[in-house]
Symmetry: C2
Subunit: 152 residues, 2 copies
C-alpha cells in the first residue's frame, strides 16, 4: 500500500487538525466536541422512536429497526469523551460526573443495556415491545440528564 497516497487522502479528508489529533491524546475541546456529537445523533435517532412510542407519529417498523441499530453503536460513543481532562471545558456537564463516577458509569451502562434491548425488540418488529423498550431507553437518557447535566 502506498502510505503517501493514504496520508495525502487523510489530510484532505480530515484536515490537518483531525489527522494529527489521533497521534496524541485528544485535546479536551476535541473530546467535548465528539461527545456532544454523539449526543446530537442519539437525539436524531431516538427522537422518532420516542415520538412513535408516544403516538405522536405513526409507528414505522423499518425506521424503528434502523434507528435502534444506529443507537446500538451511538450509545457506546459518548463516554470516553468525559475524560477528567475535560472538566474545565465549558459545557453542560456537571462536576458530579467526576465526583460520582461510579454512579455515572452505572447510568451509562443502563443506557447501553436498554438500547441493546430496544435493538433486539426492533429486530423482532413487534410494535408494543418496541414502544415499551423505547420508553425504557427514554428513562435511561433521563438517568444521566437528571443528575449529570446542567438544567436549562
Amino acid at each position: 500500500m502506498n502510505t503517501k497516497i493514504l496520508a495525502a487522502s487523510l489530510a484532505l479528508a480530515l484536515g490537518a487538525g483531525a489527522a494529527s489529533s489521533v497521534l496524541a491524546q485528544a485535546k479536551p475541546e476535541v473530546l467535548v466536541k465528539q461527545r456532544q456529537a454523539a449526543m446530537t445523533l442519539q437525539g436524531k435517532y431516538f427522537g422518532p422512536l420516542a415520538a412513535m412510542a408516544q403516538g405522536k407519529i405513526p409507528f414505522d417498523a423499518k425506521i424503528a429497526a434502523r434507528n435502534a441499530g444506529f443507537l446500538s453503536a451511538l450509545s457506546q460513543m459518548p463516554w470516553d469523551g468525559f475524560d477528567a481532562s475535560t472538566s474545565g471545558v465549558k459545557s453542560e456537564a456537571l462536576p458530579a460526573i467526576w465526583k460520582d463516577s461510579a454512579k455515572f458509569k452505572s447510568a451509562q451502562d443502563l443506557l447501553v443495556s436498554n438500547v441493546a434491548k430496544l435493538a433486539d425488540a426492533a429486530k423482532g418488529g413487534d410494535e408494543a415491545a418496541i414502544k415499551t423498550a423505547s420508553a425504557a431507553v427514554g428513562k435511561a437518557c433521563g438517568g444521566c440528564h437528571d443528575n449529570f447535566r446542567e438544567k436549562k
Copy 2:
C-alpha cells in the same frame, strides 16, 4: 405503557427543543448540526484506523474492529442532513452538493461501500487487509471532501 411518564422522561432527556423537533420537519440548522456531528464521529473513529494504516500508531485488531463497526453505522448518517433546505445555512458545504447531486450521491455510496468492506476485513482480523481497506475508505472520504467541501 404510561405515555405521560415517557413524555416527561423525554422532555428531561432531550430538552423541549429536541423533543418537539421530531414532530415536524427538522429545521435546516438542526440538519446541519446533525450532519456535522456524523462527520465529527467519523473522524473520531476513522482517525486511528488511518493512523494504523500509515504505521503511525501500532496496529490493534480489537480497536480496528470496534471502529470499523461504528463506521458502518456512522457512514450512513450524514446524508439526509444535506437536504436542499440547508443550502443557505453557513457551513463548509459547497453548492455543488445540490448542483451535481448525482455525483454527490455516488461519492456517498462509495464511502458506505468501502466502509462495509473495511468492516468485513476488520471482522476477519487480517492486518494487511484492514490497512488496505482503510486506505480505500480514506480515498472515499476525499471523494466528497475534494469536490463538495470548501477548502480550508
